[in-house]
């Protein structure tokens, strides 16, 4: 495969990153998707849209998020100098709100009064419910029954914010099925409804649009690292479920060859057990939820139910741009098991006074392996994309079961 001049030009006009991406949706949705694409293209070049985004970012989300030197973890690892990009400090506790504000401002521009979203860990649902409350929009959240059990605090939060939660009882009762149900709602209410997709997946233009909204993470990290260290970071690490926090951090650095970039997938109980959510590492290209990308599927093209201790990573697919970046060799993808993530979760809490979400705990577990192999001059940035409040009850249970 030829390396392109830039890794940042995609997608093409058909919404493809190489052979990945596209628009694989029912005809009912196509006119709306084309309308959304036009609205997004117009907003993208409209300074007024970005000025409004900037206001929201500063005064509501709380951006810029700090770039924090994790000194005790650095000391613990005895290797690379570890920084956290602290997107867990955003309003609602994760990076998800960056994208939600962007999409919801677009929904307003398109005159939509009703928004729907799917959620796994609940962070995207909470962010959507929050901004919907702030804007006075009707908000429906689809969430798998199993995830509702795993993420009670976030369910309660969404209800407080006035959103209506639809428990999804089909299939594996997790994120994949919540996305199916959200698509069904969208097909049924296509004229009135805006679908706020929570990650860099779905039909074009969602993967590129969500990436662009999340790129604020990498853009800030770049400037902050210049300011603190006078140069670019050497290594970036982020957890990958659907892949939005990772794309947000990675994208502004894709054309800097000196920057090594690592995405960390959920290995669950181990690749060999089949109980994992590592689509890039153990999946094959397929078509689900509107785009072609790596997918966990069986020999007949049926979607395999993923497993991860983290509801936010428990998804059988991955954003199409990640699939392309993997094939191009620009980004490395590693895997971390449930237990390793749990260990990292505890270590970070004790050493840094930061309780991370289970999603970035996967990234952190990989940092714990990688940093000791690197020199102290190496600058490593890990995206602390969510805080662990929502996960503490689930973690307590897992730890009790371990004993």
């Amino acid at each position: 495969m030829n390396r392109p001049n830039t890794f940042r030009a995609g997608p093409d006009e058909r919404g493809r990153f190489g052979s990945y991406g596209g628009r694989f949706v029912a005809e009912t949705l196509m006119p709306l998707i084309l309308e959304l694409e036009a609205a997004w293209e117009a907003a993208k070049t409209d300074p007024a849209f970005w000025a409004e985004m900037a206001d929201w970012s500063k005064d509501y989300i709380g951006r810029p998020s700090p770039l924090y030197h994790a000194a005790r973890l650095t000391e613990h690892c005895k290797g690379a100098k570890i920084y956290f990009k602290r997107d867990e400090l955003n309003h609602t506790g994760s990076h998800k709100i960056n994208n939600v504000v962007g999409q919801m401002l677009l929904a307003l521009r398109m005159g939509k009064k009703r928004v729907i979203a799917e959620t796994g860990a609940g962070q995207h649902g909470v962010a959507t419910a929050t901004v919907a409350a702030r804007l006075g929009l009707e908000c429906i959240i689809y969430m798998g029954e199993r995830d509702i059990e795993r993420q009670r605090p976030n369910v309660f939060r969404m209800e407080l914010l006035g959103a209506k939660i639809h428990p999804v009882t089909s299939g594996s009762r997790t994120l994949k099925d919540a996305m199916n149900e959200a698509l069904r709602d969208w097909v049924t209410n296509v004229e009135t409804t805006f679908y706020v997709i929570g990650t860099v997946a779905g039909p074009h233009p969602y993967p590129a649009m969500v990436r662009d909204f999340q790129s604020v993470i990498g853009t800030e990290a770049r400037a902050q690292m210049q300011e603190k260290e006078g140069r670019l970071p050497d290594v970036l690490v982020a957890a990958v479920g659907g892949g939005s926090n990772a794309m947000g951090l990675f994208f502004p650095f894709l054309d800097d060859p000196s920057v090594r970039i690592v995405g960390v997938e959920a290995e669950g109980r181990g690749i060999e057990t089949g109980e994992h959510a590592a689509a890039l590492t153990a999946g094959t290209p397929g078509v689900l939820h509107g785009s072609r990308s790596y997918l966990l599927q069986d020999a007949d093209g049926q979607v395999v139910e993923p497993h991860s201790i983290s509801a936010g990573l428990d998804y059988p697919g991955i954003g199409p741009e990640h699939s392309w970046l993997k094939d191009m060799g620009r980004v490395e993808y590693a895997t971390i098991k449930d237990d390793e993530a749990l260990d990292a979760f505890q270590l970070c809490s004790r050493l840094e006074g930061i309780i991370p979400a289970l999603e970035p705990s996967h990234a952190l577990a990989h940092v714990l392996k990688l940093a000791p192999t690197l020199s102290p001059e190496t600058l490593l940035v890990m995206n602390m994309c969510g805080r662990g409040d929502k996960d503490v009850a689930a973690v307590a249970e897992h730890l009790a079961a371990r004993r």
Binding site: R14, G22, R23, F24, V25, A26, E27, T28, L29, M30, P31, L32, S170, G171, K176, D177, N180, L183, R184, V187, T188, N189, V190, E191, T284, P285, G286, V287, L288, H289, G290, R292, L295, Q297, A299, D300, G301, Q302, V303
Partner: protein, 281 residues
């Protein structure tokens, strides 16, 4: 005419020509391939034409049928649980063709199982088995080079869905590479949802007819012989799916096995629907 010439577009054209000669609309029945078990499915499949189905739409089971309602999704999952695969489904089509060379068979489903099978290999095998056309819900005209164009080259019809959201600007793109017939989705929604309004369907069919000579089949939300008759006054064919899959589900015992009445129940409903369609005009 050899068997091969009759296949694909030929078989579908011949059927619509015969319907026109009879002066009536056709009945397209959807059942889910392999539901509820391979033997019962084959008996249903083989029995549909005699019960009054003019064109057979057979679902290719998929774990994530995003445009279908809970009834059809359950049918998909039942079939998968008994080990249904695309390879096995094509065997069922072959078995059907051994006794019926005239009734068009259209496979309906989602792209991923075909993508995984390999589009070209699938088209060859499907044609070999006696399939005439394909409906693949998640392949809009924007993705025509994936399967639609290769299907047309291989002599299979690619039947596209037109919907209430397909406006006049978009309609030509939807019709461009459609062969066999146009499937008008009578409501914006999933299968088995609200019933369509006959007057709106009539207007939509008239609108599409201004842009194409292809026959128009109308489906989604049609459950009863009365509804079928109403739609059959405007459309060239009426599609019924959820009501039949619901009948299958209703004839399962506590362990999900077919009871002795299942085939009779389902084909009985097909007979009633066919009666509605035949007496519509």
């Amino acid at each position: 005419m050899s068997v091969r010439d009759r296949q694909g577009q030929g078989r579908i054209e011949a059927r619509f020509a015969a319907l026109k000669a009879e002066g009536r609309a056709g009945l397209v029945t959807y059942i889910c391939g392999g539901d509820p078990d391979p033997e019962t499915f084959q008996t249903l499949f083989d029995g549909l034409p005699a019960a009054g189905a003019d064109i057979l739409e057979i679902g290719m089971p998929f774990t994530d049928p995003m445009a279908d309602g809970p009834t059809i999704q359950a049918g998909n999952l039942r079939a998968l649980a008994t080990g249904m695969t695309l390879v096995r489904l094509l065997e069922h089509v072959k078995a059907f063709r051994a006794t019926d060379d005239a009734t068009p068979v259209v496979l309906m489903g989602y792209y991923n199982p075909i993508h995984h099978y390999g589009a070209e290999r699938f088209l060859t095998d499907a044609r070999e088995a006696g399939v005439d056309g394909l409906i693949v819900v998640d392949l809009p005209p924007e993705e025509d080079d994936e399967l639609c164009l290769p299907a047309l080259r291989s002599g299979l019809c690619f039947i596209r869905l037109a919907t209430p959201t397909t406006d006049d600007r978009r309609l030509p793109a939807v019709l461009a590479n459609t062969k066999g017939f146009v499937y008008y989705v009578s409501i914006a929604g999933i299968t088995g949802a609200a019933a369509p309004t006959a007057s709106l369907v009539e207007a939509a069919v008239a609108r599409i007819k201004r842009s194409t000579d292809l026959p128009i089949a109308v489906g989604f939300g049609i459950r009863t012989p009365e509804q079928a008759a109403e739609i059959a006054r405007a459309a060239d064919a009426v599609v019924v799916g959820t009501a039949l899959v619901g009948k299958v589900a209703g004839a399962l015992d506590g362990e999900g096995r077919a009871n002795g009445r299942l085939v009779g129940d389902v084909l009985g409903l097909v007979r009633d629907l066919a009666g509605g369609v035949r007496n519509a005009r």
